[in-house]
């Protein structure tokens, strides 16, 4: 893939990430406080696998900038969660590239994301957040599982598209 191609793909995936965030916001809210599926993470995982780490990082940055619309705190939480998640997923991919599918990567990423968010909340609110830690950790697991499964099932079809054929 040429430099220009990578840039275009990064832009498209960023747009898709924001579209997925908006779509997720339209779904009826889950009954659990603070629960989110993190559909946009699908694009980050795809970028990590099919493009490059900088491309995935770019998507995380765009996503974070977009979170600014929901206020500076939401933006900060999105940034710390997103970056920590990216680092964790990047390391997992590097260490166990052939042993993990998107499900494993997604669960690791979701856990890291929520740990990052919790850390921000802890710094801002202090010990009151201790009770909330297991809830956030627990919620990360189905979120990572579902997003990972989606990509696991879609990826083989994506590989048949011209995007992959050109290499």
């Amino acid at each position: 893939m040429t430099r220009t191609n990578r840039l275009i793909v990064a832009g498209l995936l960023s747009a898709l990430a924001i579209a997925l965030s908006v779509l997720e916001g339209l779904l009826p809210p889950l009954p659990i406080p603070g629960a989110k599926l993190g559909l946009a993470n699908i694009t980050v995982m795809f970028a990590l696998q099919a493009v490059s780490v900088p491309c995935a990082g770019g998507i995380v940055l765009v996503k974070t900038a977009f979170a600014l619309f929901r206020g500076p705190i939401a933006c900060l939480m999105s940034a710390v969660g997103g970056i920590l998640s990216l680092i964790a997923m990047g390391i997992a991919r590097r260490l166990w590239r052939d042993k993990l599918s998107f499900v494993g990567v997604g669960v690791i990423g979701a856990l890291a994301h929520n740990i990052g968010q919790w850390c921000v909340a802890y710094v801002l609110l202090g010990s009151a957040m201790v009770y909330y830690a297991p809830i956030l950790l627990l919620l990360a697991i189905p979120a990572g599982l579902i997003t990972g499964l989606v990509l696991n099932m879609v990826y083989p079809y994506l590989q048949k598209t011209p995007f992959f054929r050109k290499g």
């Binding site: 406080p33 929901r70 206020g71 599918s101 801002l124 609110l125 009151a128 009770y131 697991i141 099932m153």
Partner: protein
């Protein structure tokens, strides 16, 4: 590769995830003692109210977010918040030790503790 594409490493990750989940579930749903005091922390400081006494408190948070905390029949909740996320409102009723409803953007948390009210906010 099976149909959903799980690999060996995924099983390891999922196994660890299940262990974390079980631990979290125990932490979340383990019955706790009923609390005695509601601690409301806001940018203005910390205020304590007895759970036994019904009342409604208005809390001013950061970013012009105003929260209404309600204590009724030994339980407390954030009844209303001007925050778009509504995480604290969705946390529902709190009555057991350690339970918390927090609004991070407002910098406000409501939590239940076991020790009785000590500083003058009784009566």
């Amino acid at each position: 590769m099976n149909r959903v594409g799980l690999k060996r490493g995924d099983h390891v990750v999922l196994l660890i995830a299940v262990a974390i989940a079980v631990f979290c579930c125990i932490q979340i749903w383990l019955p706790r003692a009923e609390g005695e005091t509601v601690v409301v922390t806001s940018p203005a400081g910390e205020k304590r109210y007895a759970l036994a006494q019904d009342r409604t408190v208005t809390v001013q948070g950061e970013q012009d977010i105003v929260l209404t905390v309600e204590i009724v029949g030994g339980r407390a909740r954030v009844r209303e918040s001007r925050c778009p996320d509504q995480v604290c409102v969705n946390s529902g009723w709190l009555s057991q030790n350690g339970q918390v409803a927090a609004c991070v953007p407002a910098g406000v948390s409501v939590r239940i503790v076991g020790e009785p009210v000590v500083d003058g906010v009784t009566a």
